[in-house]
Symmetry: C2
Subunit: 144 residues, 2 copies
């Protein structure tokens, strides 16, 4: 009848995710002076160029307010270039500046390294099982 918090999946995921986020936030902040929302935006713009803020919202699972403020911060540091879309003057077209690309080039291997270190103790089959299970859970949640 009693429920053990330490075995309760939402609790475990929350603690784990928050620990990772804190560590990564610290890493990104000291190395590059950016926040996690900013990193996510850079990650999206490293793959897709001249996209709108709403596109970034969809890809980063962040709300508009967070994205708007993170973009403002990146613009202030000239890591991003923003133009108004000529086709639809409500939309912006965002892309990395040269400085933004430089940070992207440095931060991606760092992020990958962090992830690898984290997964280092899992056997390949265990990693696959984890990513597979996460996919199923994600699917369950996005399908309401």
């Amino acid at each position: 009848m009693p429920l053990d918090l330490a075995g309760f999946l939402p609790y475990r995921l929350s603690v784990l995710a928050n620990t990772l986020s804190r560590e990564l936030a610290e890493l990104y902040a000291t190395r590059f002076g950016i926040t996690i929302p900013q990193w996510r935006i850079i990650a999206v713009l490293g793959q897709h160029t001249d996209v709108s803020a709403d596109f970034v919202c969809a890809r980063t699972a962040m709300d508009r307010v967070t994205v708007s403020r993170a973009i403002a911060g990146l613009l202030a540091r000239r890591l991003l270039i923003r133009r108004v879309s000529p086709a639809d003057r409500r939309c912006s077209q965002l892309k990395l500046s040269a400085a933004g690309h430089r940070i992207y080039g440095e931060i991606v291997p760092l992020a990958r390294g962090y992830e690898s270190a984290l997964l280092a103790e899992l056997a390949p089959a265990e990693r696959d099982a984890l990513t597979h299970a996460l996919s199923l859970l994600e699917r369950r949640l996005t399908a309401r």
Copy 2:
């Protein structure tokens, strides 16, 4: 070279955990008028009685400030009883009130049900693989 955020483990865990937390927070709020920190405290006091706030901190992975405030809220709603420890007057001894136990009795099956629904699409072996992988990651992180 480009990194896909959707496949980046810390990102996936963060989004998943935040989605679950939001849903559960909504559930606990509408049904019982409590927050997630408050629920965690109730969960601990359902298993351990007459423990200190610091004990609760350790078991819930929440910081002192959060715990202090959540306890204040629960005391205000008379779901908790707090005494000063006679052995060490700095420490409190916390336990659920009768009303607190009643909520505990209702919320535990609800939480379990939520977890089961979440895991419903995973085969038993997949669930085991998930919990096993989470244990390994937890171990990696608590060991610095």
